[in-house]
């Protein structure tokens, strides 16, 4: 039985330097959940179409299911929901989601929160149209989106 070829990657994760040894085909999402125990980021479609796996990569959101872990460089910074939880803005977003009833099954919520957080960080008072556009990469099968938009609006006004 061949020993699988492993790649060593080092990068910054939630503010700390980490190193991991992973097979070449492992995605960032798989590495976060399986190897690093960070399970807030969810796998929805594994094809980059639903946004449940959204993380912040060098300040911008991306689908971690489409990023190969092997592609990570030492200067790359990955931030997951676990990494922003203490940020007052993230707290405001989470609180607004709960208060507006924007969470039903909750599976899209981590991705929605991360995307909303990055949106409000860049644009503290976005228009509704802008909010919809910024969240168009995050799908929800439960809420019909209107309460999610209300939540983002609420978080932006507080």
């Amino acid at each position: 039985m061949n020993k699988p070829e492993l790649v060593t990657v080092s990068f910054k994760l939630n503010g700390k330097k980490v190193e991991a040894e992973i097979p070449p085909g492992r995605t960032l999402l798989e590495m976060l959940r399986r190897d690093l125990g960070l399970v807030a980021t969810k796998e929805g479609c594994a094809k980059g179409e639903c946004g449940a796996c959204t993380v912040i990569f060098n300040g911008k959101t991306l689908n971690s299911c489409l990023k190969l872990a092997a592609q990570l460089l030492p200067e790359d910074e990955v931030v997951t929901l676990e990494g922003i939880e203490k940020d007052p803005l993230a707290h405001r977003v989470q609180k607004a989601f709960v208060e507006e009833g924007a969470v039903q099954c909750g599976f899209c919520t981590p991705g929605m929160v991360v995307s909303s957080y990055v949106l409000l960080k860049e644009t503290p008072r976005p228009t509704e149209e802008h909010m919809k556009e910024a969240l168009s990469g995050n799908l929800c099968r439960c809420t019909g989106y209107s309460k999610i938009i209300k939540a983002v609006k609420r978080a932006s006004e507080e």
């Binding site: 061949n2 699988p4 070829e5 790649v7 097979p23 070449p24 085909g25 995605t27 594994a46 094809k47 980059g48 179409e49 946004g51 959204t54 990569f57 911008k60 959101t61 991306l62 689908n63 299911c65 489409l66 990023k67 190969l68 092997a70 592609q71 460089l73 995307s115 556009e133 910024a134 168009s136 990469g137 799908l139």
Partner: protein
């Protein structure tokens, strides 16, 4: 994830081209937004190597003589936000901003979108209207291929074993332009039909017009008859000329019916998209 995959991150263009040439079952991975999806869907059963071009730093956008060179590794977001591109190539900005959704745009690259060579690839019509050239690096050296000659069929290009796209060279002009696509949704939708329009001033107060149509032929195509009509018209386009141009693009489109749309709809909508594009440029 069944087959043993190898990952390589070559340190130079020549190392990359040699690696690619030596392993025909190797594929370049840039953003991975098309490649990883194909691989997971089992469409690439022979894939053995993933070659990451990150070390080659093909991510700059800069003036190069009388061209603007856009590195193949530039992401859609990077392109749409760059001052040079925003100023000179609005069709490309509009197109880049409609690829996928935000998370995709932060990862997907121009090189990937072009090399994937889908007739529905959103940046391709815009690049075509801007008369882009592809700078390819291969084992025999560097060569330029006009984008208009780059695609040979759906998913097929002029790239040979060992080739990689270094950059896109666009003639340095200040253009007006836009891009429209129709999809099942307003985001995360493969285009059913798309249209790019670019125009710029030429000497003698003439105006150049370039129209490219997506998803209505085996490759993205230029609507040359409509272009000629617009270019022959006097400075401000009359409603009659616009109507005729829209009719011409409908004739020039040769769509098929497939999983995404029907040919009658596609044929009709290219005309509608041209009208919208011309009206938008008029207002600007």
């Amino acid at each position: 994830m069944t087959k043993q995959l190898h990952f390589a991150r070559p340190l130079s263009v020549s190392e990359a081209t040699t690696l690619l040439a030596n392993h025909p079952t190797a594929r370049i991975i840039a953003g991975g937004t098309d490649l990883l999806v194909k691989w997971k869907n089992g469409i690439l059963p022979d894939l053995t190597h993933l070659v990451d071009l990150g070390n080659l730093k093909l991510t700059s956008i800069a003036q190069e003589g009388d061209h603007i060179a856009i590195g193949s590794g530039c992401t859609m977001s990077q392109i749409a936000e760059h001052p040079l591109v925003k100023k000179k190539f609005p069709a490309l900005v509009t197109a880049a901003l409609q690829v996928g959704a935000l998370q995709i745009r932060n990862l997907a690259t121009l090189g990937g979108n072009v090399a994937n060579a889908s007739p529905a690839g959103d940046t391709i019509p815009a690049l075509l209207t801007l008369e882009a050239q592809v700078r390819l690096a291969g084992i025999k050296g560097v060569r330029l291929v006009p984008l208009a000659k780059f695609f040979t069929g759906p998913g097929k290009t002029e790239m040979e074993a060992g080739d990689l796209i270094e950059a896109f060279l666009i003639p340095d002009r200040e253009t007006k332009g836009t891009f429209f696509k129709l999809g099942e949704r307003r985001a995360h939708a493969i285009s059913k039909v798309s249209l790019a329009l670019s125009s710029w001033a030429m000497p003698g107060s003439r105006i150049a017009w370039r129209i490219a149509l997506g998803a209505v032929a085996p490759t993205v195509i230029r609507a040359r008859r409509a272009e000629t009509l617009l270019e022959g018209a006097s400075e401000s386009l009359t409603e009659k000329i616009i109507e005729q141009a829209c009719q011409l693009v409908c004739e020039e489109a040769t769509p098929i019916s497939d999983i995404r749309s029907e040919k009658e709809y596609r044929k009709k909508m290219v005309g509608v998209l041209l009208k919208r594009a011309l009206e938008k440029l008029k207002k600007a």
